[in-house]
Symmetry: C2
Subunit: 353 residues, 2 copies
């Protein structure tokens, strides 16, 4: 039996998992527990696209050339600077008879595991992409392992919309789980104090979903932190947070002051959803003793978070945002369907892309 | 009132907390809420010392020169490559009348906040240090803020021994908290299955304390993972784990196989205490669904952890090891006093330094 986590596809260095590998085997022939996808579109991770865009000064041709080079060299799309990838959309071309994913040929799916570990071949030179958006039309193939995660795209939603939601569906799922735990603990203790939640980057994709998820999970008061006036207006209009404040998340004093003023107290749960470095200290400082910070940005520095909390003598639990939580796809798509504010933000973002 | 977190000591860049600052103000005059310590000894963070040692090929003079240069340039000891620092031991020289730390002049203390945020001046050129050990005899001064943490050194223990324990006292405290929660949850559910714990780097300082703490917190079966035979023998002799196994923590398949074989099942709680990069995937793979990984190594990559768990479709909670947990100093010193195995490992390590 071939490895459920794809060890047999690792070319170099040996013995590591596909995500850590420098180069993957992209051959189209599948093992009995694999699935081959005919790719339609890649959705690059926001941090990765931003790095490429800044590096090449927004020159779409240069960005496209680098993405093609990365994929050709490594057999996967993994930005060597940010370490991040993204996800893809496509159609099941062949499902091995022992694949546990339950997919059938012809189904349209989104992969919910990162491109950083997905064998990928591009056959059209990304000719349909101008290099100026995270959404990359693409012809080629990709391979899923037994222990991958893929969601069949719902028929009632625009596939691009579904893809944008599924790309970040771990954030609302984990926010929901953590907030629910605080709500339950407070109920057990007969504690009437509402659970407070701050989402840094609340107008973004993962941020708006996290806000909606926190409220559904029973958060009593929520604040969305945004960096610019346009995002403030958009998030206020969406009605997803009890308060919306402007602050530079890289400025610890400004961030913690903004959050504490808006909530009346520090946050029980702070969710960091902005793809800029240097938000760790502000997030810790904005969080109550006994609270939790969920880091969902790939720009998070492990050392800055660990040493920052220690240096502030802050008794906070800090979570590495895990993109996989069981039921995450259904939860996020449910929020998109049930929360017009979420849907509006996503549609506006797609229209602007 | 001057800032409790030391903002007034940040010289550049403005608006960041001391840990993120490039350079701190080291003036010896203290504000009413500060404390000045006469420094006796620095204890460099293991990852930092290793990086310096490897960089300079073990040349003690070159290592000393670089440490002196870092401290003189930055006004604090923060390794620019690893981002980490260490801690110090000294005597309270002057305590501001508004300092909440409860320290008195003449008391011998260890600082429990990182050197990366502690204003520090060295006045003896580190003349007493050969550059070949993490323990650095040192004359000079350091400043503590209102929201710092310092422990008065216990009279019954060798100060070097106390310092070595206090340096890593966050690890056993957090391991204890997490294991206790699993034990309590299982009791509530009437679930007889023992809580299983794996400590990667179990023979090291934080690792041996974490093993002892996990057992005291009610872990039913524990395994210590070590990289070499000498450590295996030392940890077996210490009697701190139910099983001791040899494995390369950077090899995900080897690590997870070793842990699962030793415990009979994957670990409910995996604690990573080894200062080498690339242990994230193995730790995730060694942990049961619904389990928790505590990353206590400064060599941890946030992106590798986040993407690794997602790529493995692993429903694990991943914690950034916070060096501050209330009561951490007392808990760790209590383990040192009460567990001869812990004390033996620490004394052997100090003797070898």
């Amino acid at each position: 039996m071939t490895s459920p986590v794809g060890l047999h596809r690792v070319l170099e260095p040996g013995g590591v998992l596909p995500q850590a590998a420098w180069r993957l085997d992209t051959r189209p022939e599948i093992a009995p527990n694999e699935v081959r996808i005919r790719v339609e579109r890649l959705n690059l991770d926001a941090a990765s696209f931003r790095q490429l865009s800044v590096k090449h000064g927004g020159d779409g041709d240069a960005i496209r050339a680098e993405v093609l080079d990365i994929i050709a060299t490594r057999g996967k799309m993994q930005n060597p600077v940010t370490g991040s990838g993204g996800m893809l959309i496509g159609t099941v071309e062949e499902a091995g008879r022992r694949s546990p994913l339950g997919l059938k040929a012809g189904e349209r799916v989104a992969t919910l595991v990162s491109l950083t570990l997905t064998p990928l071949v591009v056959t059209d030179g990304l000719a349909g992409w101008d290099g100026r958006s995270e959404q990359v039309p693409c012809a080629g193939w990709a391979i899923l392992f037994a222990r991958s995660v893929a969601a069949v795209l719902p028929g009632d939603l625009d596939p691009q919309l579904s893809l944008a939601v599924l790309d970040v569906c771990g954030a609302p799922a984990l926010a929901s789980r953590v907030v629910s735990r605080y709500v339950a603990e407070r109920a057990v203790e007969g504690e009437a104090r509402p659970v407070t939640v701050a989402v840094v980057g609340g107008a973004g994709k993962s941020g708006s979903l996290a806000l909606a998820a926190a409220r559904r999970a029973g958060a009593g008061r929520t604040v969305g932190v945004v960096p610019v006036v346009a995002e403030r207006e958009a998030l206020v209009a969406a009605g997803l947070a009890d308060a919306v404040v402007l602050a530079d998340a890289r400025d610890p004093v400004a961030l913690s002051t903004a959050v504490t003023s808006a909530l009346g107290v520090p946050a029980d749960v702070t969710v960091v959803c902005v793809d800029v470095p240097g938000c760790e200290h502000g997030a810790v400082l904005a969080t109550a003793d006994g609270g939790t910070v969920i880091f969902f940005s790939m720009a998070t520095s492990f050392a800055a978070a660990a040493l920052g909390a220690e240096g502030l003598a802050a008794d906070v639990t800090m979570l590495v945002g895990n993109g996989y939580v069981p039921g995450h796809a259904e939860l996020a798509l449910g929020l998109l369907r049930g929360e017009p504010g979420v849907r509006g933000l996503f549609e506006a973002r797609l229209a602007a892309d």
